[in-house]
């Protein structure tokens, strides 16, 4: 049985903050296939296209028939833990300060034997589920989980190293004026966040939903305007040292393409709120988060970007908007590299058209703000790096994987 986490006490500001370390993250190029699966929360192993053998560790030829056609594919993750050990002496600084550390060998029903981390609720001889996760260094690792969910299982210290669970963490939602920002506040409060800071520009100006927002447990409204560098810096000075998860809910949705618009004023505003806003946010809060990646139960854990799925492929009807979203995606990739040394994940959440006033004319299916918020919390609890929310987002992702050129033509209408 997992001991439930205890709400952390206020930190003594005189104590040294434990510096972030992470396990060795070098992987072969082929093993990056595991990274791709782990980022999306899938369980995939290489499966021979010729003889169907499933194998592990990653190889460049099938160990049964030598075929070079060995793509990663979803496989059954169930197996039996055949031997376990508790490592008490490690040569690696990350593990050294976390020993004792359990590891074991699982014989998967689909064939291979996998060395993995062990959840506290599994024992030698047990039936287990293997899960692919990204560790503190962003590298793919396996962990054996109990066959069926157990009470408080997310609180297991080994598992929590691989997730960004909001429980007992302190969250900043950058814009509380929008429906998405308010849904996010509600979802994080429900997920057990310690404090949910919700940024509002010019808080004296009333906005719809503000009373309901104030009534959400552990919500604290703070002044924050991402178009203003000073405002971002001030908020970071005020609360930056205790923010563990940042969710950028700033949005700017306008229809129209590139050629049809007059001038660049709207586009400039788009870029100011979305791209430069992201940059201001990252510059103000990123360095502090990177330094606090190993700061106990409520260590800094994740930076969440909400991105239109059209960041991945332009949708000419919302063409300039798509371009600004693409700029944010590119910045997020850079940010991911910059935050990785601190063990802080960057979660990119790709959504299709939302059920908000800005997509009023777009036909369904659309994503309700509450559904988006739920998906964000779920992705953090699972420790994902990329998540696609809603039917449109899933559809675009699937089509991109098959034929990006076809998608480009088809989105042109």
């Amino acid at each position: 049985m997992t001991e439930p986490l205890v709400r952390p006490k206020r930190k003594n500001p005189l104590k040294k903050t434990r510096q972030p370390l992470y396990p060795q993250s070098i992987r072969s190029r082929t093993a990056q296939g595991l990274t791709a699966a782990a980022a999306l929360g899938r369980f995939e192993l290489q499966t021979c296209s010729d003889c169907s053998t499933v194998f592990y560790p990653p190889r460049d030829a099938c160990p049964k028939c030598l075929s070079p056609r060995v793509p990663f594919a979803p496989v059954d993750n169930r197996g039996t833990l055949i031997a376990e050990t508790t490592i008490r002496t490690s040569t690696d600084p990350y593990f050294r300060e976390r020993t004792p550390w359990r590891a074991g060998l699982t014989k998967l029903d689909c064939g291979p034997v996998v060395l993995s981390h062990l959840h506290g609720d599994v024992r030698e001889g047990d039936r287990v589920r293997l899960d692919l996760k990204l560790d503190k260094g962003g590298a793919p690792v396996m962990i054996a989980l109990p066959e069926k969910d157990t009470p408080n299982m997310a609180d297991d210290p080994q598992l929590r190293e691989m997730t960004s669970d909001p429980k007992f963490r302190r969250v900043l939602i950058t814009d509380g004026r929008s429906a998405v920002g308010q849904a996010m506040a509600e979802a994080f409060s429900k997920a057990g966040a310690n404090i949910v800071f919700v940024g509002v520009a010019d808080p004296w100006k009333p906005f719809p939903g503000q009373d309901a927002l104030r009534r959400i447990e552990r919500v604290e409204i703070v002044p924050l305007d991402l178009t203003d560098t000073e405002s971002a810096t001030e908020q970071a000075e005020q609360n930056g040292g205790r923010i563990d998860i940042v969710v950028n809910t700033a949005e700017h949705v306008r229809s129209g393409g590139i050629m049809q618009r007059r001038g660049v004023n709207v586009a400039r505003e788009e870029m100011d709120i979305r791209y430069f806003g992201l940059m201001r946010l990252a510059q103000a809060f990123g360095p502090g988060m990177r330094a606090r990646g190993a700061d106990g139960v409520n260590s800094a854990a994740a930076f969440v970007n909400l991105l239109s799925v059209h960041a991945l492929m332009n949708w000419p009807e919302y063409g300039a908007y798509s371009a600004a979203e693409a700029a944010c995606l590119s910045a997020a990739q850079c940010l991911r590299a910059e935050l990785r040394p601190g063990g802080v994940k960057v979660l990119n959440v790709f959504f299709g058209p939302l059920e908000t006033e800005w997509f009023q004319t777009v036909p369904p299916p659309k994503v309700a703000p509450a559904a988006l918020a739920k998906a964000v919390v779920n992705a953090l609890q699972r420790g994902l790096e990329d998540v696609f929310v809603g039917d449109i987002a899933e559809d675009i992702r699937a089509r991109l994987a098959v034929n990006p050129k076809a998608l480009e033509r088809e989105l042109a209408g």
């Binding site: 072969s28 093993a31 560790p57 490592i87 008490r88 002496t89 690696d92 990350y94 034997v113 690792v141």
Partner: protein, 392 residues
């Protein structure tokens, strides 16, 4: 496919001039220095000149970025036959069997076989972190316990399968320590009691401190040539009766409970023309005691699963029943990288020629030496064994 051809005997190939460069826990010298020193001592012991070395086998983990080729220029040798055998604990037996055929066929007159590694303060961690691609992708990120963690799992499984106890493994470690007390170059110089073994600090359950070898710097070497050449140099020599080698045996075993020896054991004894019961001393590869037990089984000294009973029925000391790892093995001498795979060979040569460093096994005529190495992912992949005989 037709049946395998009968293997040719090694005829008058002999092994001589065992060299051990005394081990050190840490060394500021390079692997090149250790290998150079071993070869220097080899030329002095055999009374040959460096340029007489026309064949060379090198085994090491720490010569990087050099291979055996770079080593020739570094050491000023011009061999006409060169092999690089980076096979860890199997390097000794495998280097020997390569060299023996080259000498037998007349490709070379002498093959100097040498293994050496240095051990800098941080080199062990670095070796673990980049030991193999599978280690990098699928082992080191899981607690970075190194070989200790991998063998902990193998040991645990063996205990579950065959009822071996920590006391059984402790008995082997204690006996080897007794043997080592007579060996000046052994890293471990204090007697070990079973109580101390049982109460040692845990490393990776069920392994405790004295189940694990101590990494150190050191080098070992020997010379392979024809019997008449050895005789003309006045070198005491031993004959090679048979050898086996295997890599990645039993890939479908979910966890290692046997090594490649089990595949090739019949051929080993058949080629040697002797039986397991005939040998006077056994030098196994002892990176962990569970592997020793597996070697007793897989090399035919007892049946599969009978290892624990076999351990309970012998003393394993140099002057006791079933003399085993008579120089202390790596568990007491230290693990000098790839030289660990040579330790059993040089000791067996000394026992069979009566030129021992420690205690002599009485009437030693026949020895078995086995090697094991290279935990690539979850198990040791390479195995080898050789039967050696006193030259009449």
């Amino acid at each position: 496919m037709s049946s395998a051809p009968v293997r040719l005997a090694y005829d008058d190939v002999v092994v001589c001039a065992p060299i051990t460069v005394p081990y050190r826990r840490y060394s500021t010298n390079s692997a090149h220095w250790w290998i150079g020193r071993a070869l220097h001592e080899l030329t002095l012991a055999a009374n040959i000149r460096p340029r007489d070395i026309d064949g060379l086998v090198v085994s090491s983990f720490t010569t990087g970025p050099d291979t055996a080729v770079g080593m020739t220029q570094h050491l000023g040798l011009s061999p006409r036959w060169l092999d690089h055998v980076p096979m860890g604990g199997a390097s000794g037996v495998i280097g020997l069997r390569r060299a023996a055929r080259a000498v037998q066929c007349g490709d070379v007159q002498f093959v100097a076989c040498v293994a050496g590694d240095t051990n800098h303060v941080d080199s062990f961690r670095k070796t673990l972190a980049s030991f193999s691609r599978f280690a990098q992708d699928a082992v080191y990120p899981y607690g970075s316990g190194g070989a200790n963690a991998s063998f902990a799992l193998i040991t645990k499984n063996y205990m579950n399968m065959y009822g071996a106890t920590r006391e059984d493994f402790g008995k082997l470690c204690v006996a080897q320590r007794d043997n080592a007390l007579a060996i000046p170059f052994a890293m471990m110089k204090k007697k070990l009691t079973l109580d101390e073994y049982m109460n040692a600090r845990p490393i990776s359950d069920p392994l405790h401190l004295f189940d694990c070898v101590m990494p150190c710097a050191g080098a070992e070497a020997f010379l392979v040539c024809r019997a008449d050449v050895a005789k003309s140099l006045g070198l005491p020599a031993v004959r090679l009766l048979s050898t086996i080698e295997r890599h990645n045996a039993f890939p479908d075993d979910p966890i290692q409970y046997r090594g490649g020896w089990a595949l090739d054991v019949d051929e080993l004894w058949q080629m040697a023309g002797v039986k397991p019961g005939d040998v006077d001393l056994v030098q196994t590869y002892d990176d962990y005691p569970v592997i020793v037990t597996m070697q007793f089984e897989d090399l035919g000294f007892c049946g599969k699963g009978e290892g624990p009973d076999f351990v309970r029925s012998h003393s394993f000391t140099t002057d006791g029943s079933f003399p085993h790892n008579t120089s202390g093995g790596q568990l007491s001498a230290g693990q000098a990288g790839a030289a660990g795979g040579y330790l059993g060979l040089t000791e067996a040569m000394r026992q069979l020629t009566g030129k021992v460093i420690g205690k002599q096994v009485a009437d030693a005529e026949l020895a078995l030496v086995s090697g094991f190495g290279m935990i690539n992912y979850d198990r040791g992949l390479s195995s080898g064994a050789a039967v050696l005989a006193r030259a009449s």
